[in-house]
């Protein structure tokens, strides 16, 4: 279910639309699972709340940091703390360039940290490289449910 999907955690509809557009422009066809806040992202991953009983197993998480309810760093911490999502690739995709956020993000086990450029052309390029790397080149960790 939702095989090879991407979980996009993004509260801003504009950014969501732009991200979808950038993915589409790069021919990345993977299903996009959307979470509007940190809590919803955790529901998706652990099969709780609205997604009770059917946890998603996305190939990649694109995680914003500044989120309503549960913020992005806390989401990351929970992902890494849970055995079923411990190895899940998480790319932080955010506006912040604060060194504190970068250090904390990597410290909690983020796989990449990408700052969203204002220039949409640069953003498209960033998403292209991101998709190429994580969805094509990278050998994903073994899936917990398949093991």
């Amino acid at each position: 279910m939702h095989d090879r999907s991407i979980l996009l955690v993004e509260d801003n509809p504009d950014d969501e639309a732009l991200t979808r557009r950038a993915l589409a422009k790069n021919n990345i066809q993977n299903e996009i699972l959307l979470a509007r806040d940190g809590a919803e992202a955790l529901d998706w991953l652990f099969g709780t709340g609205a997604h009770a009983g059917r946890p998603a197993a996305p190939e990649l998480v694109l995680l914003d940091l500044k989120l309503p309810k549960v913020d992005g760093l806390e989401v990351l911490r929970r992902i890494r703390a849970n055995p079923s999502t411990r190895l899940l690739p998480v790319v932080i995709l955010t506006s912040s360039r604060e060194e504190k956020d970068v250090v904390t993000g990597y410290g909690l086990g983020a796989n990449s940290y990408i700052r969203k450029p204002v220039d949409f052309g640069q953003f498209v390029e960033a998403v292209r490289q991101l998709g190429l790397y994580w969805l094509v080149l990278n050998e994903p960790p073994p899936r917990p449910d398949a093991a």
């Binding site: 732009l18 500044k66 220039d119 949409f120």
Partner: protein
């Protein structure tokens, strides 16, 4: 002198003993000689007695023989011996009586000898008469008769006994004489030897004493001569210099040839000479035996020195004045030191009196010994009220016990918790109110005792200030946190709409390209450019605010390597540019490496940017000296600037060039300035339009 006297005494005693011994020996010798002479006389006497006796006996025998011849021959010439014997025998016997007058036994024998001789002579007379009258026949028996023979026999016996007696006397007297002579010889030799020994001893003693005195005199001369700290010299009664030592030469400056024979008045100041001091001084010294003063004296070169002068009158044994011994010491240094000390004491007194702080001293018991006006003001107590009172008077009740214990411990063990430190405590004013104070306590040894000095400052105002400062710090911290939250929010939330503006403008351009005319597309491009420019502004602002936050991470930074890395980045960013970087190697400074990178990125980036219209362009990074400090610089040969606007360069958002000419936000140099100021350095710029610019910074 005591030593000399006692030696003289010893020599006198020695000579006295020697003389006594010589006299005794002489007397003994005299007596012995007299005894010898008298003994010799006695020997002669004895020999004379014996000679007389033998001669008498011979006379008697001769007389008898003559008589016998007369009897036989009748010739009267034979009677001559008889007649002479009668005279001689008489005188001989009288002489013997004289000779043996001292000897009763001999006198007695002489009596019987006289009788026997007389009897014999009578018998011979009778024989002669008988012959003359009776002829030889009658006289023959008389001559041959036994009676005559018997008489002679007895005379002979008496004489023999007397001779023996004299012989014994002679032996006795010879023995006595020999003994006495031996004694006299012994006495003479002993006396001579003792006298010789004493004379030798005396000569050794005198010689040694004289050598000692010569040595002492020489030593004294050398000693006085070599003393350099004192001028020691002599003047005669009239005041003319007669001797001069090394110290005198050093202190007064005259060599001996220059000064000997000169009058000592030249050592006095002209005022003293005018006042007749030289003569007065000698007069006093002569009258009192000694004169001492401290006064100014004059050196050869005219300079004055403060002298300690002692003049001693020198007199001979009879009290006649021989001159004066003068000892002078140069006390100028000491006088200066005393003056300096007085001045220093005065300075410190004024310091203590005028000090705003309380300055007080206490003895080992903790009793106040000094209380300055500052202390009076701070504690509201007068010095009279607290002198000799314990220090605890100045403390709130709760500190007193700890103070007493601390003082006792310090006095006993020398271990002090507050000595030599500055501590904050509380004080108690006269009215009982408390106030915070800062105490600096020092201790020193006052003879065997310990004493303390305290400097106390009323820090009520400072405490209030500190409290205020602390509140400000808390507020500032809160403001900083707010600012940080604000910055974070800015970086996130202000950028998101920009992304939308740019992204959807781009989407319009792509998806609705056909429906837009050129103007519409141009408008969308402007929207995109504006949103991207605003994004850059936000980034620069964040960067500026970031450099003022956080601790400086200071280390050794290789600025040359950093500049080279930045230059390489610039070359990569636009490989078409022809810019030569000249970087002085090995420029190392103590600074925060991250911030220095931002500084060089801005300065080299500016140089790169403003040389954009030059090809080839030159950029230099180096160091020069500025007021003794190292000033690093970045120099370019680009657009430069008008020095009239130099002051505006480092303000945020200030730009000297149009954005269309050179892009930029006007925040880079403001950031550089903040970083340099955070390092305690300075930054400034020099330039001229189209002649390039140079940016300097110190750290």
């Amino acid at each position: 002198m005591e030593m000399g006297l006692s030696l003289e005494r010893r020599i006198q005693i020695g000579f006295g003993i020697a003389v006594a011994i010589i006299v005794a020996v002489g007397a003994a010798a005299l007596r012995s000689t007299e005894a010898t002479v008298s003994s010799a006389r006695w020997v002669a006497h004895t020999l004379q007695v014996r000679a007389e006796l033998e001669a008498g006996f011979a006379d008697l025998i001769e007389a008898e023989t003559g008589v016998r011849g007369y009897v036989i021959t009748g010739d009267t010439t034979y009677l001559a011996p008889y007649h002479s014997a009668r005279t001689t025998l008489h005188s001989r016997l009288a002489g013997l009586r004289d000779l043996t007058a001292d000897n009763p036994a001999q006198q007695r024998r002489l009596d019987s000898l006289e009788t026997l001789v007389a009897t014999r002579l009578e018998r011979l007379q009778w024989t002669i008469e008988t012959r003359r009258t009776g002829g030889p026949a009658a006289a023959g028996p008389a001559v041959i008769g036994g009676r005559g023979k018997e008489l002679i026999q007895r005379v002979h016996e008496v004489i023999t006994r007397m001779e023996d007696d004299e012989g014994q006397l002679l032996a006795q007297r010879s023995a006595t004489l020999q003994a006495k002579a031996r004694l006299a010889r012994l006495a003479a030799w002993t006396g001579a030897l003792v006298a010789l020994a004493l004379a030798g001893l005396a000569s050794v003693l005198v010689g040694r004493e004289m050598a000692g005195r010569r040595f002492a005199e020489e030593r004294l001369r050398l000693l006085v001569g070599s003393v350099r700290d004192y001028a020691i010299y002599m003047v005669d009664p009239a005041g003319y210099v007669r001797s001069w030592n090394a110290g005198a030469e050093r202190i007064k400056g005259y060599t001996p040839p220059e000064i000997l024979g000169q009058h000592f008045a030249r050592f006095f100041t002209p005022e003293d000479v005018a006042a007749g001091r030289p003569a007065a001084v000698l007069h006093d010294a002569a009258a009192e035996g000694r004169y001492e003063e401290e006064n100014w004296r004059v050196r050869k070169d005219g300079s004055r020195f403060w002298a300690d002068v002692v003049i001693t009158a020198v007199r001979d044994d009879r009290g006649a004045l021989l001159g004066f011994a003068k000892v002078t010491r140069d006390l100028t240094e000491r006088k200066r030191a005393e003056q300096a000390l007085r001045a220093s004491e005065e300075r410190f007194r004024i310091l203590a009196v005028t000090a705003n702080d309380a300055i007080l001293s206490a003895d080992a018991r903790g009793h106040i010994t000094y209380f300055n006006p500052g202390a009076e003001r701070i504690f509201g107590l007068t010095a009279d009220e607290v002198i000799d009172r314990p220090l605890t008077t100045l403390m709130p009740e709760r500190f007193r016990e700890a103070h007493r214990a601390g003082l006792a411990r310090y006095v006993a063990t020398g271990e002090g918790r507050v000595i030599g430190k500055t501590v904050e405590l509380a004080g108690r004013r006269k009215d009982g109110t408390e106030f915070p104070l800062e105490l600096s306590l020092a201790s020193w040894k006052h003879g065997a005792d310990v004493a303390f000095t305290a400097i106390i400052r009323d820090i009520t105002t400072r405490k209030a200030g500190e409290e205020q400062l602390r509140r400000y710090a808390v507020q500032l911290e809160a403001a900083n946190q707010e600012l940080e939250a604000f910055s974070y929010s800015v970086s996130h939330d202000l950028r998101a709409p920009l992304r939308s503006l740019d992204g959807f403008s781009q989407a319009l351009l792509e998806d609705y390209h056909e429906r837009l005319d050129d103007t519409g597309r141009d408008f969308l491009q402007r929207v995109r450019a504006a949103s991207q420019r605003m994004a850059t502004l936000i980034d620069d602002l964040l960067s500026l605010s970031r450099v003022t936050r956080g601790e400086l991470q200071v280390g050794d930074v290789d600025l040359s390597a950093l500049a080279a890395a930045v230059a390489a980045d610039l070359h990569r960013s636009d490989q078409k540019r022809d810019v030569t970087f000249a970087i002085t190697p090995d420029l190392v400074a103590r600074a925060d490496p991250g911030l220095m990178r931002i500084v060089l990125q801005n300065l080299l980036g500016n140089a790169w940017k403003f040389t954009g219209k030059r090809s080839p362009a030159h950029v230099e990074f180096g160091v020069t000296a500025q007021d003794g400090r190292r000033a690093f610089f970045v120099r370019d040969d680009g657009a430069g600037f008008d020095m009239a606007y130099a002051a505006k360069l480092f303000g945020a958002f200030q730009r000297l060039h149009a954005t269309t000419e050179f892009p930029g936000t006007g925040i880079g140099l403001a950031t550089v300035q903040r970083i340099i100021h955070r390092h305690g350095g300075q930054v400034w710029a020099e330039g001229a339009p189209e002649r390039g610019a140079t940016f300097y910074f110190t750290l």
